[in-house]
């Protein structure tokens, strides 16, 4: 088995009495794009700082290509870092900013020139090379920061919520650009974000952080379709969570009792009868039909609200359906408030999360 590019081995970090990272272990392979996803204060940025060398772990070790680096100062770690507010050198031109890491490595002038040119071309900012950062827009500064972090071909690139300050359109464009760069240059990227849709778009794997621990790590599909904890289920995408207890097991299904009169059929799970569970049903999996519809999971209910969101319709249902929210295709007919309707979905649309 190949040595992972980065190995984080039982790392803990405390600031005074507060333990921000609790005994965390994570392997990142060569060429992987891993997102560290979580709310503020969950420890994801701290882990990035530990990787970069700006903080020391209180316990545990960090290895790069098999050798320990946690005692190395930042300037010896050869990692490219892109900061949240770009951190460009305000007193240097764009070209000098990008040339900086090459100068630090003692490269010759002509070599520096050609590399800087190539880097600026990659981010399409060759025309700005003599400008100062203050004269650039946010998006342009972001690209300079990227070019600067990549120009010396580091083994690993660390990004700390680099797209947070950009507007939606620019952000989405940059997400694709970064993803493309990652593939083309075969970079190993560790990307911190609190935006789950961003993580879903860009990553090979997502590590979901909660209070200093990784609750789940997996591919975007894994994380979205099969969240392992309530936190992950609620953090990724929007979902409906229903409380219930395990009633019966069949050959290829399990009955979950929601209350005395309502129950759901979900794919077969491994839990004893009477166990408490949470069932997650994504809004886009819920369909609404007339009373005559027949399906394995049906909840007769009434529409509270139906809002047009541009690319979909968002329908709020009442307590008969446990306040479920459904997302319908925008081409569907709009349901008037108060309309009687049956919310239905297949067992495969349900996912059981540990309670």
């Amino acid at each position: 088995m190949a040595i992972p590019r980065i190995r984080i081995d039982q790392v803990s970090k405390s600031f005074g009495p507060v333990q921000v990272i609790k005994n965390l272990s994570l392997d990142i392979e060569r060429g992987e794009f891993v997102s560290l996803l979580g709310p503020s204060g969950s420890g994801k940025t701290t882990l990035l700082m530990l990787l970069a060398g700006f903080e020391q772990p209180s316990a545990g070790s960090i290895l790069l290509d098999g050798s320990r680096i946690d005692h190395l100062p930042p300037h010896r770690r050869a990692m490219g870092v892109v900061f949240q507010n770009y951190a460009l050198f305000p007193h240097m031109s764009v070209a000098d900013n990008v040339a900086f890491p090459l100068k630090m490595r003692g490269m010759g002038r002509p070599e520096i020139e050609s590399r800087v040119k190539r880097a600026l071309d990659t981010v399409q900012l060759a025309a700005m090379r003599d400008r100062r950062p203050a004269q650039l827009s946010g998006g342009q500064q972001q690209r300079v920061a990227l070019a600067r972090a990549l120009v010396f071909e580091p083994a690993v690139v660390l990004m700390d919520e680099p797209l947070g300050a950009l507007d939606k359109q620019l952000r989405e464009q940059m997400q694709l650009d970064i993803r493309e760069l990652h593939k083309r240059l075969e970079l190993t990227v560790v990307f911190v974000t609190h935006d789950q849709s961003e993580a879903l778009t860009m990553s090979d794997r997502i590590a979901v952080f909660n209070q200093g621990l990784i609750e789940q790590i997996g591919s975007p599909r894994d994380i979205y379709d099969h969240p392992r904890t309530r936190f992950v289920a609620e953090f990724i995408g929007e979902t409906n969570l229903l409380h219930g207890t395990v009633k019966d097991h069949y050959q290829d299904g399990t009955t979950i009792e929601l209350d005395t009169s309502r129950h759901l059929t979900v794919p077969r799970i491994d839990a004893s009868a009477g166990a408490s569970v949470l069932v997650s049903v994504r809004p886009e999996r819920i369909q609404l039909g007339p009373a005559s519809v027949a399906a394995q999971n049906m909840l007769p209910t009434r529409v509270v609200d139906c809002v047009y969101q541009g690319d979909h319709l968002r329908v709020q249902l009442d307590e008969a359906a446990f306040g479920l929210v459904a997302r319908l295709d925008r081409r569907s007919a709009e349901w008037p408030a108060g309309a009687d309707v049956v919310a239905h979905f297949a067992p495969e649309d349900c996912w059981v999360v540990a309670a």
């Binding site: 060398g53 700006f54 903080e55 020391q56 100062p73 930042p74």
Partner: protein
């Protein structure tokens, strides 16, 4: 990230300035403090007497040991300057020492061995004179500090006021605070509306308003004071203008008095105004002298380091208290 070494090296950056200020700022201030409270003449130059007086109860007749110690000490002094200082110090506590000492020293030098001081002069039989010596053996004194606020110790040793007309320090201190307060008030009254004006102004008007404030701030204090001096002269601009306009008959005395001081000082704030030396020195009249000039007078004029120091301490203490208040206020401001 920072090793112990790096952190130690970083902290060491503070040492050059710390040592520099320790030597050339703190030590001089401590020296001033020391000057204000020290009174080493007797303890240093009458060592045996000082030692012997520790055992004396100050009410009955002084022991023979002490008397002979005095004789020995007097014989040991050969510097006229020191003798002069000694006599002055003792005389200020108990009048009559001048002639007494002269007589005694002569008698001591003309003889050897034990000497009956009572025979030399009858005053030596009066314990008051011995008590004056005993009290003066304390190398520290509060005389100057008390005098700084017009107080003194009476015969019994209690604190009492200095008689009317003999010392004007309290009046001067009060005046200093008064002038500083008036200056501060004037500054506030003018400055606040002015600041509001600047905040609402734009373009060239704003630049002009700001420049008008910054230029005087920047320009040498001395220059500004000179300027005020010239303006406020009897034949200065203001008076000429006023008389040309027919508003006054003879020139207004704007110089060498209070109005001039306040008008020119209104640009500064209280703390700086407290320590104000130049402006009152040049523009104020004799009734407008502020405490700094008095301090300087004691120091450079009459070499009374004790008084200079004591007054300086009062001023310094007031300033530090204010600085403390200022620090507290600005801390709460930034937090709030």
């Amino acid at each position: 990230m920072t090793t112990l070494w790096q952190r130690a090296g970083h902290a060491a950056l503070v040492l050059p300035l710390l040592l520099f200020l320790g030597l050339f700022f703190v030590w001089p201030l401590v020296t001033v403090l020391d000057q204000a409270v020290s009174d080493p003449v007797v303890s240093r130059h009458l060592p045996a007497t000082s030692a012997a007086s520790a055992a004396w109860d100050r009410s009955s007749a002084p022991p023979a040991e002490m008397r002979q110690a005095l004789v020995r000490d007097l014989r040991a002094i050969d510097d006229d300057q020191i003798m002069g200082d000694l006599v002055r110090r003792l005389n200020s506590a108990q009048p009559g020492f001048r002639t007494l000492m002269k007589k005694t020293v002569t008698a001591a030098r003309d003889s050897s061995g034990d000497l009956d001081l009572g025979e030399v002069d009858a005053r030596w039989r009066d314990t008051a004179f011995w008590r004056a010596i005993a009290e003066a053996t304390n190398p520290y004194t509060d005389r100057n500090l008390l005098a700084a606020i017009d107080l003194q110790r009476d015969r019994a040793g209690a604190i009492a006021a200095i008689p009317e007309g003999e010392s004007a320090n309290r009046a001067i201190l009060l005046r200093t605070f008064l002038v500083a307060s008036t200056v501060t008030l004037a500054t506030g009254l003018i400055g606040l509306p002015y600041a509001m004006l600047v905040a609402s102004a734009t373009g060239w008007r704003r630049q002009l308003l700001l420049a008008a404030v910054l230029l005087p701030l920047w320009t040498s204090l001395l220059v500004r004071t000179t300027a005020w001096y010239i303006l406020l002269q009897d034949q200065g601009l203001i008076n000429s203008a006023l008389s040309a306009l027919g508003l006054i008959g003879k020139p207004l005395p704007l110089l060498f008095n209070r109005t001039g001081v306040i008008a020119s000082g209104a640009l500064l704030v209280f703390m700086a105004a407290l320590g104000y030396y130049i402006t009152p020195a040049l523009i104020g009249g004799p009734k407008d002298q502020m405490i700094s000039s008095v301090i300087a007078f004691y120091a450079t004029g009459s070499a009374n380091w004790g008084m200079a120091g004591a007054l300086g301490i009062v001023l310094l203490a007031a300033t530090l208290v204010l600085y403390g208040i200022y620090g507290r206020l600005s801390a709460t401001n930034t937090r709030g």
